[in-house]
């Protein structure tokens, strides 16, 4: 064992320094908590930026006719809103949670590759800086939708290469972040923590990270082909040269559908942590949850063309993608069943994180059901590109992914800051959010079924009433989020001291509750033993 002997002597004595002083702490960071915090703050800023764009969209749609934005700017707003919310708000928020919680939950001193961790974070502000700069360049920012379909997107002005390169940078950041997550989980678990003893949040992130590494490069390839089609005379998406614009949709959605699960699997993990805690029962069907997550990830690779039922596909293709899509309902149903069964005969209490998790359970399921409706190919011919689709994916993304991020924030914020947040304000934030998110998005189902197309700034007067309701819901939902921001800031600055377990009477399970609150700067210098 001479090899391990020499290794040990070198490794001691590096871990006892505290944070650096001043700006260097953040710019030169290698600490998973500092980097996690930066991710979360960045994500919040992007959430508010993308949210502001949504406010402009809803202001325009408040009444029929064009009042607030010219149609080009309106299209820019929908495109930028989506890109910012997907790549700037939801994904970095989950990466921030992963950074904070995975080392704490697996009993590791830090993430496995701390410098790459900081690299993957710092790329993001620059990537989004470049994306937001497109608002100022000749021709305006991209306006062809976040899916960047050619040939429409090739009409973008000077913003085009900037948007493409911004996507490349985001992809590089995501891939590095995902590699870090996988390596941390596979290499740095505390002794005794076998794979099937890992917390569900860790499991869902492991699978998410695999999806990220598998599909972000495919997106990079797709936008590279757009770039060369635009500037270098290639014909990937040009039928005259033997290419096919539909091919872009195939490549894009081969990325795009796993991307959907990249944004929801960590949410499943969060909810699987919170519901058992506040039901005071272990998670029902742990193994089934793991296998369901893996099944969803596998299925995500063979369902992509359900986004393209109306763009032209052989009948057998329509059938295959319809049926494979419906299969997803099975593992997802397992999950919803298990969360419900976890609460069965539990001793449930309704703190803010639990409220958000419950709201997730109900409202995400609504989004799942409308997804099943959309999966039926002949019915989709009617729903395609209507507000029904907008309602569907906002139900899974806002009361789905975003609510789970809020639940996770309330659940772990005391562990991060050492203070309790303001519970009353948290509950108020929950109730207003839950009410207004439904006022905002539920009417969009009706609009879509009545035939209102998406991505259009003006509409027929028959759609006026529900658009008015939806916009009011949107403004109120947007304003409500200021409560969230205020609550977080005041919790960071002070408040009632949180205990180590934070939720003492619920006695939460997991290694993160065995360290002090706030968690020490270096998590587990001596690995805990897991039995």
């Amino acid at each position: 064992m001479s090899a391990s002997h020499t290794h040990d002597t070198h490794a001691a004595g590096h871990d006892d320094h505290g944070p650096m002083k001043g700006w260097r702490r953040w710019f030169y960071a290698t600490n998973h908590k500092d980097i996690g915090s930066m991710y979360l703050i960045f994500s919040l800023v992007m959430f508010l930026t993308g949210g502001l764009m949504a406010m402009f969209i809803r202001a325009e749609l408040l009444y029929p006719g064009t009042q607030v934005l010219d149609p080009g700017t309106f299209n820019s707003m929908t495109t930028m809103h989506a890109l910012i919310m997907v790549f700037g708000a939801v994904m970095p928020a989950f990466t921030g949670l992963a950074n904070w919680m995975i080392p704490l939950q697996v009993g590791a001193p830090d993430m496995a590759l701390p410098r790459m961790n900081n690299f993957s974070f710092w790329i993001l502000p620059f990537a989004f800086g470049m994306l937001l700069l497109t608002l100022l360049v000749p021709g305006g920012s991209p306006a062809g939708g976040w899916t960047l379909y050619p040939p429409l997107v090739l009409q973008t002005g000077d913003a085009f290469p900037m948007a493409v390169f911004a996507v490349h940078l985001m992809g590089a950041s995501s891939i590095m972040g995902a590699i870090n997550v996988i390596v941390t989980i596979m290499n740095m678990r505390a002794p005794g923590m076998t794979l099937l003893k890992m917390p569900l949040f860790v499991w869902t992130w492991l699978i998410t990270a695999y999806l990220l590494i598998a599909v972000m490069p495919v997106l990079a390839g797709a936008v590279t082909m757009l770039l060369t089609d635009h500037y270098f005379g290639t014909s990937f998406f040009n039928a005259a040269g033997g290419g096919d614009p539909v091919m872009f949709q195939h490549i894009f959605w081969f990325f795009g559908h796993p991307e959907v699960y990249i944004m929801i699997l960590p949410a499943f993990g969060v909810v699987s942590e919170i519901i058992p805690t506040f039901s005071r029962k272990p998670l029902f069907g742990y193994d089934a949850m793991v296998y369901a997550t893996a099944s969803i990830a596998f299925l995500s690779f063979i369902v992509w063309a359900h986004h393209m039922f109306t763009t032209g596909m052989p009948l057998v293709g329509e059938m295959f993608f319809m049926l494979s899509t419906m299969l997803i309902a099975i593992p997802t149903g397992v999950k919803v069943f298990n969360w419900t069964a976890t609460m069965w005969k539990g001793s449930i209490s309704f703190e803010t994180p639990m409220l958000f998790a419950l709201s997730f359970l109900f409202l995400f399921t609504i989004g799942g059901f409308s997804g099943l409706m959309l999966a039926i190919a002949p019915a989709d011919f009617q729903y395609h590109d209507t507000y029904f689709v907008v309602a569907h994916f906002h139900y899974v993304l806002v009361p789905g992914a975003v609510f789970s991020i809020m639940a996770a924030t309330y659940y772990w914020l005391p562990k991060w800051t050492g203070h309790m947040y303001n519970e009353k304000m948290g509950k108020l934030h929950f109730w207003l959010s839950t009410i207004f998110v439904n006022v905002l998005f539920f009417p969009q189902h009706f609009l879509g079924l009545a035939g209102m197309p998406r991505r259009i700034p003006d509409y027929s007067t028959q759609f006026a009433d529900w658009n008015f309701v939806s916009s009011i819901g949107g403004f109120c939902f947007g304003l409500t989020q200021l409560l969230f921001v205020y609550n977080i800031i005041s919790c960071v600055r002070g408040g009632v001291k949180a205990s180590d377990k934070v939720w003492d009477d619920a006695s939460p399970q997991g290694l993160e509750w065995t360290v002090s609150s706030p968690a020490p700067y270096h998590s587990f210098e001596v690995p805990p033993e897991v039995k």
Partner: protein, 291 residues
């Protein structure tokens, strides 16, 4: 065995590196490069791009220098080494998926887009736009973009290039075995052979491109064949170039006496990368040149 937790090799004494300015420098360098590239495409001004490239090169030099110094000083333990190995394997997997996008495009163009354009299945494009188009491969599409062209036969220069890359895989493996048996002379010789073969491949590939452009009228703009041919072989050639440069660096380090028979992650990472570009080439040879 001076430390109490020597048996917890997996995490107990994990080396958490000290703060580093390279990540933020790297982010700024990437931004300058990418923003500069946009400027180049939009306005034809390339200076910012080249400044960015210089910054990126400086970044690689500086960051790797620090990491190599730490490694030579014996800072990294087995657990860190394992992290590096896993990280490299997943990075290579991401590269595989990047190439998969382009192979997928080739498959789609040949087996789905071509039949549609030539009137099989959904007939609109054929009956309304290009009634005389019969498809087939190679193709620059119904509009014959770029004009008539010829392709490079598989069993000419590409076959030679295949032999060169496969041979370089063998020489690299011989070098690896020599390293494990501590035969430094053989190691250095065969490493040098490997990167020389790599650069020879790149040189021959460039002569092939020159022939394609000047004699065969096969260009990037020659419809879908030109697009897939040059993008696939081009990205592969870029990866071979990067790999050969990495091998050269490894050779220089090996000449300085770096790497021991047990501890040589840097060598192995580059070797994996080299085998990866090798395998991609086999895919290219079969699907782009041969079939």
């Amino acid at each position: 065995m001076a430390h109490a937790h020597h048996d917890h090799d997996s995490a107990g004494k994990y080396y958490v590196p000290h703060a580093s300015h390279w990540p933020i420098v790297g982010s700024i360098a990437l931004f300058i490069t990418m923003f500069g590239a946009s400027q180049w495409l939009n306005n034809g001004i390339s200076s910012m791009f080249w400044v960015g490239i210089l910054c990126v090169l400086g970044l690689f030099f500086g960051w790797f220098r620090d990491v190599i110094n730490e490694s030579v000083a014996g800072t990294y333990n087995q657990a860190v080494d394992r992290s590096f190995r896993m990280g490299m394997m997943w990075f290579i997997f991401s590269e595989v998926m990047f190439f998969a996008a382009f192979f997928g495009a080739l498959y789609y163009a040949r087996n789905i887009a071509q039949p549609w354009l030539s009137g099989q299945g959904v007939k609109f494009a054929n009956t309304l736009l290009w009634q005389n188009f019969t498809g087939g491969w190679p193709s620059n599409g119904p509009a014959k973009l770029g004009g008539e062209f010829e392709v490079i036969p598989a069993f000419s220069l590409p076959a030679v290039n295949t032999m060169i890359l496969l041979t370089s895989g063998v020489t690299l493996t011989i070098a690896h075995h020599a390293l494990k048996e501590n035969k430094r002379g053989i190691l250095n010789l065969f490493l040098a052979l490997t990167f020389l073969l790599g650069f020879l491949f790149v040189y021959l590939q460039s002569t092939e491109y020159a022939e394609a452009y000047h004699e065969l009228n096969l260009k990037l703009s020659s419809g879908i064949y030109g697009s897939t041919f040059f993008m696939l072989t081009g990205f592969h050639g870029l990866h071979v170039t990067i790999g050969a440069i990495m091998l050269t660096v490894i050779w220089l380090r090996s000449m300085k006496g770096h790497f021991s028979s047990e501890n040589h992650f840097g060598f192995e990472a580059v070797a994996w990368y080299w085998h990866f570009v090798d395998v991609v080439w086999l895919g290219l040879f079969i699907f782009v040149y041969w079939l």
